[in-house]
């Protein structure tokens, strides 16, 4: 045994050892998987579904601010016969940003859009693109809601109060109307202690936790569990709710009626009291009732 091993001299062994050490380094280096793949786009901002129709080139473009409602609407309309006759695809976009609705509405990109009346008016979209209201949610009143006393609508009352408002300027009950009231009362808004929230729910949390003294919002069913109905004060007359608008380039009444019917069904399926109290516009009501008869 010793005689075979005499072949491996010290010099050879040291050379092999150095080579082996370098080899070990590279082996370790290559034993880890390289992760160098770019992260794909995973944020969904739109959804597309195919109808059973043959008009492949035609797309029905819908814009809805809420993702959940957007998916429900596109799902319903994709299955509709009238939509299938006229369109090959239903594409629905959603987004939480105000800018998005401006693009879709102001440029007339969307065929069907859920928007507030004040925005529609601001862009004069009814006259520019002939957007027609199809269905609207019920009117509501804007209130100041307080936890411990009935709010008073005078200048002195507001000056030492912490007030919760919404941070998006398109909201009437949570932003426009209270600020308009402050203007009427000659209050400089910079002098008020205003805390902003992202949603009506966020406002309610602020009030319940005592971070603000009063908030501007609407009164909804279920609020009486947290707050007292005696401690609310209306800011204005009832304001109209959001409406669905359909772009009527041509007098496409079939589509109007189909859309109205589907939206009406969807509203009835909704558990929320606000969303299942709807008002129908246009004469389709008659058409539908005639059919029913």
């Amino acid at each position: 045994m010793l005689s075979d091993q005499a072949f491996f001299g010290k010099r050879l062994i040291v050379t092999l050892l150095c080579t082996a050490i370098i080899f070990m380094f590279y082996l370790g280096n290559s034993s880890v998987d390289i992760t160098d793949e770019p992260i794909p786009v995973f944020m969904e901002i739109s959804n597309q579904c195919k109808t059973e129709g043959k008009a492949v080139g035609n797309n029905l473009i819908i814009y809805v601010p809420s993702e959940i409602v957007a998916k429900q609407v596109s799902h319903k309309l994709c299955k509709d016969d009238v939509v299938a006759k006229q369109y090959g695809n239903v594409i629905v976009h959603w987004g939480y940003k105000l800018g998005d609705s401006v693009e879709f509405l102001g440029k007339g990109v969307a065929d069907l859009i859920l928007a507030k009346e004040n925005i529609m008016q601001a862009f004069m979209a009814e006259s520019t693109y002939n957007y027609q209201a199809v269905l609207g949610y019920s009117n509501y009143t804007a209130f100041f809601i307080s936890l411990q006393e009935k709010p008073k609508l005078n200048k002195l009352y507001f000056l030492d109060k912490k007030i919760g408002l919404l941070d998006y300027p398109t909201s009437r009950s949570g932003h426009i109307l209270p600020k308009a009231l402050f203007k009427d009362l000659d209050i400089n808004i910079d002098n008020l202690d205003i805390t902003y929230a992202n949603s009506h729910e966020g406002l309610r949390e602020l009030l319940a936790s005592g971070k603000v003294d009063l908030i501007a919002s609407y009164w909804k069913k279920g609020d009486e569990k947290q707050f007292s109905k005696n401690y609310i004060e209306p800011i204005s007359n009832p304001i109209s709710g959001s409406k669905w608008y359909l772009k009527m380039d041509v007098d496409n009444t079939d589509l109007l009626c189909a859309v109205q019917k589907n939206l009406y069904d969807l509203a009835k399926e909704n558990e929320s009291t606000y969303f299942n109290h709807v008002k129908l516009f246009k004469s389709c009501q008659n058409i539908l009732s005639q059919k029913a008869v």
């Binding site: 045994m1 010793l2 091993q5 005499a6 491996f8 010290k10 062994i13 092999l16 050892l17 082996a20 050490i21 370098i22 070990m24 380094f25 590279y26 082996l27 370790g28 280096n29 290559s30 034993s31 880890v32 998987d33 390289i34 992760t35 160098d36 793949e37 770019p38 992260i39 794909p40 786009v41 995973f42 944020m43 901002i45 987004g95 939480y96 940003k97 941070d167 902003y196 929230a197 992202n198 949603s199 966020g202």
Partner: protein, 310 residues
């Protein structure tokens, strides 16, 4: 049993020698992966930024915390699919901690307006990922290659203590400058006259190289020995010890040897065994005139003698 222990120790050393570069390689690659992941995360986030509702004080925007947290959850799901070791934790103070990690980096995206700070937590590798069977295989291979070296190394090691137990054997130092002979261990010095000194140095040098030549009082001295003795006498003159002409070394040889023996007796008083090496043997038995008598130093070697001032 000792041999087995040594092999196990050598194996451990080899294994460590291979395992360390392996782990270092793994570590470096993991770090580079993390750096790449962080860059990809930053790119993705930068592209998605306009769609995120992040707070912005300048525009009185509170931001939608729930949607940002949802975004981060979806983001981490993608990272998990791609096997990334990094996870996004916090965007602009909106934090979402799923499984807290001990290690995280903070990056700042310099967006127009407010800079966006984000925390990315990093998973460190498990200990098992730093290990591999290859260093073990290589260590075994090298144990096989170096087995004979290991065996030698062991036996040498076991011999060393045995040598150390023996006291150092004294040697004889001959100092031509001081005209003394010295025991290297005990430092005992004995002066010697010029003639015996020269003769003894020459004799010791002659005997280390010519062991087979028999030196007998009845015969003439060999020419080489005389020459060596003369040479050392010249050296003594050079050193200024004498101005006399060189003596005849053949004359009164027995007296010269006696003087040498007497000096050696003194120097090696404690070590009679050692003395034998240096001691010109005395004639005894049937008579000092015996033809068989040899007064040369039979067992002397060059390492036994050190000459100073040669």
């Amino acid at each position: 049993m000792l041999k087995h222990n040594k092999i196990i120790i050598s194996f451990m050393l080899f294994w460590l020698l291979f395992q360390l570069p392996f782990s270092f390689g793994v570590y470096l690659e993991h770090q580079s992966n993390l750096e790449k992941s962080i860059n990809h995360i930053q790119t993705r986030l930068a592209l998605d930024l306009p769609r995120l509702s992040l707070p912005d004080k300048a525009l009185n925007i509170v931001g939608d915390e729930v949607s940002v947290i949802n975004y981060m959850k979806q983001f981490n799901l993608q990272l998990e699919k791609l096997d990334y070791s990094a996870r996004i934790d916090t965007i602009k103070n909106i934090s979402f901690i799923d499984v807290p990690n001990e290690q995280y980096v903070e990056r700042i995206l310099l967006a127009p307006g407010e800079p966006i700070t984000l925390n990315i937590s990093l998973k460190s590798l498990k200990v098992t990922e730093y290990l591999s069977v290859m260093p073990v295989v290589f260590a075994l291979l090298f144990i096989y290659l170096t087995l004979d070296h290991i065996v030698i190394w062991q036996s040498r090691k076991s011999q060393i203590p045995a040598i150390e137990e023996q006291p150092q054997q004294p040697i004889l130092i001959i100092d031509l400058i001081e005209k003394v002979i010295i025991n290297s261990e005990t430092k005992v010095k004995t002066p010697l006259a010029n003639k015996p000194l020269c003769f003894y140095v020459a004799l010791s040098e002659f005997c280390t190289t010519n062991k087979e030549i028999v030196l007998n009082q009845n015969k003439d001295l060999p020419i080489e020995l005389t020459e060596l003795a003369n040479k050392y006498f010249l050296r003594l003159i050079e050193l200024g010890h004498t101005v006399r002409k060189r003596p005849n070394f053949s004359n009164s040889l027995e007296k010269t040897l006696s003087e040498i023996r007497a000096a050696l007796d003194e120097v090696f008083i404690d070590a009679p065994d050692v003395k034998e090496i240096y001691y010109p043997p005395k004639a005894h038995g049937e008579g000092s005139r015996s033809k068989l008598h040899h007064y040369g130093l039979t067992s002397i070697e060059s390492q036994h003698i050190q000459v100073i001032g040669k």
